[in-house]
Structures are given as C-alpha cells and as structure tokens.
C-alpha cells in the first residue's frame, strides 16, 4: 500500500511539474510581451520605459530564474503580483473565489442528484422507454456546449417566463434569498453540462452489477426488485462511479469559465478572461496551474480512496486490468482514463 501511495503521489507531482513547464514555456518563450500591451496606450513609449517595466516585473532575468521564482513562490503560497492592478494575485483570486466555489459546489451537487435520478429510476422501474429518453437527453447534453445550455435556459426562464434573473451575482452574506435566485440558472447550466458524463458512468457501473450472480441470488431468495436495486445493485455500482469524480471536477473548472461569462458571474473565470485580454501573465499562470493542481489532487485522492475501499486496485495498473472486473461501458482505456467521448470538453 505504501509503495502504491508513493508511486501515485510521485506521478502526480511529475505531472504538475510538466504542466508548470508547459504553461511557462507558452507564456515566456512565445512572442508577445505584457509590456507592449501595458504601454500601448501612451504615445512615444521610450525604450527606457519598456526596460524599466520589464525590470520591475522581473522579465529581464534569465528564464530559468524566472521559472524558479514562480514555482518556489507558488509552492509557498506566494503567487506574486498582478502586472497591472498591482494587487497580489492571491488577493485577486481570494476576491473571486467565493463566487466560483458557490457556483461549482452547487452545480456538482445538482449534477450528482440529476445523474443518480436519471441513471437509477429507469432501472428501478425497469422501463426501456424511460431509459431511451434518458439516453437521448444524455447524447444531446454531450453535444450541447455549456453556453448553449445556458442561453437556452436564459431564453426560457429569464426572457420568456421572467422567473429568474438572466445574470448577475449577489453574495450570500448580503441577501441569502436573492443570492439563491441569482445562483439557480448558472448552477443549473453547469450541472446540466457535466451531468451527461456522470449519467454515462453510473449507467455503465449499474449495468455491470445488474446482471451479476449475487443480484440473481438476491432475486432468487425472493427479494423484490426495488429492494434488490437499493440494497445490492446501488452499493456496488456507486463505488466504481466515484472514479469519474476527478474528470468531473476538471469539467467543472473548465465549464465554470464559460458559465461565468454567460451569466456575468464575477468568479475566477472572469478574472482569467480579463487577464488574458491584458496579458497579465502573473494571474494566468497562477490560475491555470491552480486549476490543474485541483484536478490532479482530486484525481489522486479519489484514486487513493478507491484503493482503500477496493483492495484489488492496490496493485500496479498493468495487473489491475486482470484483477478487477472490467467495466462494461463506458470502457476504460488501457491507461485507466475514460475514452475520448466521455470526457466533457470544456
């Protein structure tokens, strides 16, 4: 177990190092420089002004030194300063974090509720029709980009019915009732965007145990179908579905950027978009690396948790395939990741 743990932690760290290098290379090695944007407004920008600004931002130092300063700062929680507003990046993120967290947590909870209902109810009722409807909705949901879902919801609930505001944000401290009204549509949008992949995953793992011999035994002992599902099928099906949580969190982080743009939600996504427009590298590199770190850490925790809960997985991945029953659908690829179609894109 210890060697498994060390191995997983080690490979996660390697992954983060590679990501940080990729981000850094993209921002520093490629043409384009924040100083040109910052000084573009004023006429007659002198070479001195540019050189001064570069020195102030530390852009004149050797690249390796810059990288080391960034990464060592990142690890110790010092994210540096924004190139433009002169605020600490951590402060900027801190201001936006509550909005993003309330959005993503609400969306995740909603998505799980939607997914469990959509995957379980057709099985419970043994209704082929319901299953077909769910599958159709899932396929449509996978094809519809987040912002399309958002726009359709706005058209319907805000413009046509006028029940909910089409955008904006009110914090919980100020007015809880109003905050929830503003939260409903963004959270629903994001949850509908990630629910389809959760549904697919749940359906797959339910399908796998649904025909297992212990379910047949339970039925043979005379236990009713509903009790069999709740007592035998679900407990065994929900655990494998847990592994999809890492991917779901990744989709949440990407999706929230777009959802925040649709609903003028003042979260991290808006911060990034703003930073990209201004070429505020300090903000971009930190937020993207943080997002990657969240994804990698969640995946790691889920993996380890799964290793504790299911001892078959404590062996190396190559032997894992032989030891653990292979999920029917969605099938895992050799690398233990979902096949392309199951990963939401944004």
């Amino acid at each position: 177990m210890l060697s498994y743990l060390l191995k997983r932690v080690g490979s996660s760290l390697v992954m983060l190092v590679i990501i940080s290098i990729l981000i850094f290379v993209a921002l520093r090695m490629l043409p384009g420089d924040p100083t040109t944007v910052a000084l573009a407004q004023g006429d007659g920008v002198t070479e001195d002004a540019i050189a001064n600004m570069r020195a102030e931002l530390g852009l004149d130092k050797p690249v390796l030194v810059q990288y080391w300063q960034w990464v060592s700062g990142f690890i110790s929680g010092d994210f540096g300063y924004s190139y433009f507003s002169k605020y600490a990046v951590s402060e900027l993120i801190g201001q936006r974090l509550p909005a993003t967290i309330s959005l993503t947590v609400a969306a995740l909870v909603l998505a799980i509720v939607i997914a469990v209902i959509a995957a379980v109810v057709p099985v419970l009722l043994r209704s082929k029709w319901l299953e077909r409807i769910v599958n159709l909705c899932t396929a449509a949901g996978m094809a519809a980009p987040v912002f399309v879902i958002g726009i359709l919801l706005v058209l319907f609930f805000a413009n046509l019915l006028g029940w909910l505001p089409s955008g904006g944000y009110v914090s919980f401290e100020r007015n809880p009732a109003k905050a929830i009204r503003y939260l409903v549509l963004p959270a629903l949008t994001l949850s509908l965007a990630i629910a389809p992949q959760l549904i697919r995953y749940l359906q797959g793992s339910i399908d796998e145990v649904r025909w297992a011999s212990f379910v047949r035994t339970a039925r043979g002992k005379g236990i009713g179908w509903r009790r069999t599902v709740s007592g035998h099928v679900l407990p065994n099906a929900l655990l494998p579905a847990l592994t999809s949580l890492g991917i779901t969190v990744g989709s949440l982080l990407g999706g929230s950027v777009v959802v925040e743009a649709v609903f003028a939600w003042p979260g991290i996504g808006q911060l990034v978009i703003d930073a990209v427009n201004k070429r505020d590298y300090a903000v971009i590199q930190t937020v993207v690396l943080l997002a990657a770190a969240v994804f990698v850490v969640v995946t790691l925790i889920v993996d380890l948790l799964y290793g504790i809960l299911d001892p078959r997985l404590r062996v190396a991945p190559s032997r894992r395939a032989a030891a653990a029953p292979k999920p029917q659908s969605p099938e895992l690829t050799a690398d233990g990741l979902l096949p392309t179609e199951e990963r939401a894109d944004v």
Partner: protein, 295 residues
C-alpha cells in the same frame, strides 16, 4: 471435451464473419438511422459552407432599415444589428468554423501520430516523457490551456488552428501509441525487421496504414471537440474576432442582443450543437465499430 470444442468454434466463428463483413465497413458505420442522419447533416453543412459565397454573396451588405428584424419570409433566421441576413451570415460563419476545426484536426493528427509513434518505437525514458506530457496536457481543462496560448499568441484563425491542434494532439498520440505497440509485436513487423527494413520505414509505411482506422475515429471526435472549444473561446470573446465571425462569434454578439432578439442567439446556438452532435455520432460509431472488430 465437447464443451471446449463448441467454445473454440464459437470464438472462431465471429472472426470469419468479421472478415466476411469487412468490405462493407461503410455500411457498418453508416448503417443505423442515427449515423445516417448524422452523415446527412454533415454533408448538408459542408455544402452550405462551400456554397456560402455563391448563394449568399451579399452577406456583408449593411441594411440600416432592417435592423434586428425577427424571422420572416425574406429573412428566415431574421437579421442582425446592422440589418444583415442572419442565415447568410451563419453560412459564412459555418465556413470559418469548419475550416478552423478541420485545420485543427489535421494538425492534431500529424502531431499526434509522430508523437505516439516515436513514443512506441523508442520506449524507455523517451516514451515516459512523451506520454507523461500527453497526460499533463489532458489534465488541464482544455479551455484554460487554450487561454494560456491565446494570451501568448493572440487569436486569429490560424493561431486558433495551431492552439486547438496542439491541445487535441495528445489524444491522437495516446491511441497511436497503444495501437502501434500492438502492431510492433506482430509477426509481420518482426518479419520486416529481419528482412532489414529501417525502423522509420516500418513505422510510417507499414504500421501506420494499419493503425489509421483507429486514428480516423479519434480525428472525427477531435473535429467535434475543436468546434466546441473554438465556439467557447469565441463566445467568451477570446476566439475569432469581428469583423471575422465563426458561429461562436455570432452567438456572442447575438447573446448581447438577447432580451429582444431571441433568434440572433438561438439559431447560431442550435447550429453549433447540431454540427457537434453530428460529428460526435459518427466518431463514436466508428470507435465502437473498430473496438468490436479488434475484439
């Protein structure tokens, strides 16, 4: 004894039928109502994109008297804020959307094939570095990764192709590597090695044609995904910039006119969804068909 015999013949039978079915791969992929519809949709969309300059040559003509008109006989999808016909603008935008997506797909295939084949052929630390890098790229939410590049390079259509091509290539690299590794252990590759063929010749001339079907499936899915990411970028204002317009750009502008002009946001939104769905359906079907064939 008798059971093992029937088992053996059971496993042998599908092989033969697969071999017999192989010539009709087209039918196997396009043989369901869903995939046939999807293929039809793609053909229509490509035709619209190709014929846009001929059918709607005056898409950019500003007509101040017909601003933001709702759909009518003259303007099926209504008009935009400058009185231009929305259907015509969407046709032209579809052209750009498809161009970027196909370009990105092509780049992702070229990059990914080389990436995966080099990893499979060299093994050891080269493979380790290459595949860890692929994992790393896939670990960052695509849109955030794209934003890093947009910040560095800007966002004209060519740059978008490059960005999307890079982001989508690790997937191609991964399937190329795993199928190549299977091929490399096969008898014909060993035979060719014994005969004395060079490694790159074996890889690109002999192995590549055999792994190509798998790559085609991923490539189709990459088109769908490239359209999705490009539209997302354009929608948040960091993709295709006016006066150029992809469907995502139109949607962004349409969304800002939403309270009154519902059609301006609705039609581009539906178009994007339908196009993505069509490519998704074909790609998935292709993937499933190949899975079954190799199983």
């Amino acid at each position: 004894m008798s059971t093992s015999d029937t088992e053996a013949s059971d496993t042998a039978a599908p092989d033969q039928s697969v071999a017999a079915r192989r010539p009709s791969a087209w039918r196997a992929v396009l043989g369901t109502p869903g995939t046939l519809t999807a293929a039809g949709v793609i053909v229509v969309i490509v035709l619209i994109a190709l014929l846009a300059p001929i059918v709607w040559p005056n898409a950019d003509t500003i007509n101040a008297g017909a601003r933001l008109e709702s759909p009518s006989g003259a303007h099926w999808f209504g008009t935009d804020e400058l009185g231009r016909d929305l259907l015509a603008r969407m046709a032209h935008a579809t052209q750009l959307t498809l161009l970027i997506a196909l370009g990105a797909m092509a780049l992702s295939v070229v990059l990914g094939v080389v990436w995966g084949m080099v990893a499979a052929a060299f093994g050891s630390w080269v493979e380790e570095i290459l595949m860890r890098t692929a994992d790393a790229i896939m670990a960052v939410p695509m849109i955030l990764f794209a934003l890093v590049f947009v910040a560095a390079l800007g966002s004209n259509p060519i740059v978008l192709i490059v960005i999307l091509g890079i982001i989508k290539s690790p997937l191609v690299a991964r399937v190329t590597r795993s199928s190549t590794m299977v091929e490399l252990t096969s008898d014909y590759v060993r035979g060719l090695t014994v005969v004395g063929l060079g490694r790159s010749r074996i890889l690109f001339r002999e192995v590549l044609p055999n792994v190509f079907p798998v790559i085609a499936a991923v490539a189709t899915l990459n088109i769908a995904s490239a359209i999705m990411v490009e539209a997302s970028l354009s929608f948040i204002g960091l993709g295709v910039q006016p006066p150029l317009a992809s469907l995502g750009t139109l949607l962004k502008i349409g969304y800002s006119h939403l309270p009154g002009s519902w059609w301006y946001a609705l039609f581009p939104a539906l178009a994007i969804t339908v196009i993505i769905a069509a490519f998704n359906v074909i790609g998935k079907r292709l993937e499933r068909y190949l899975d079954r064939r190799s199983a």
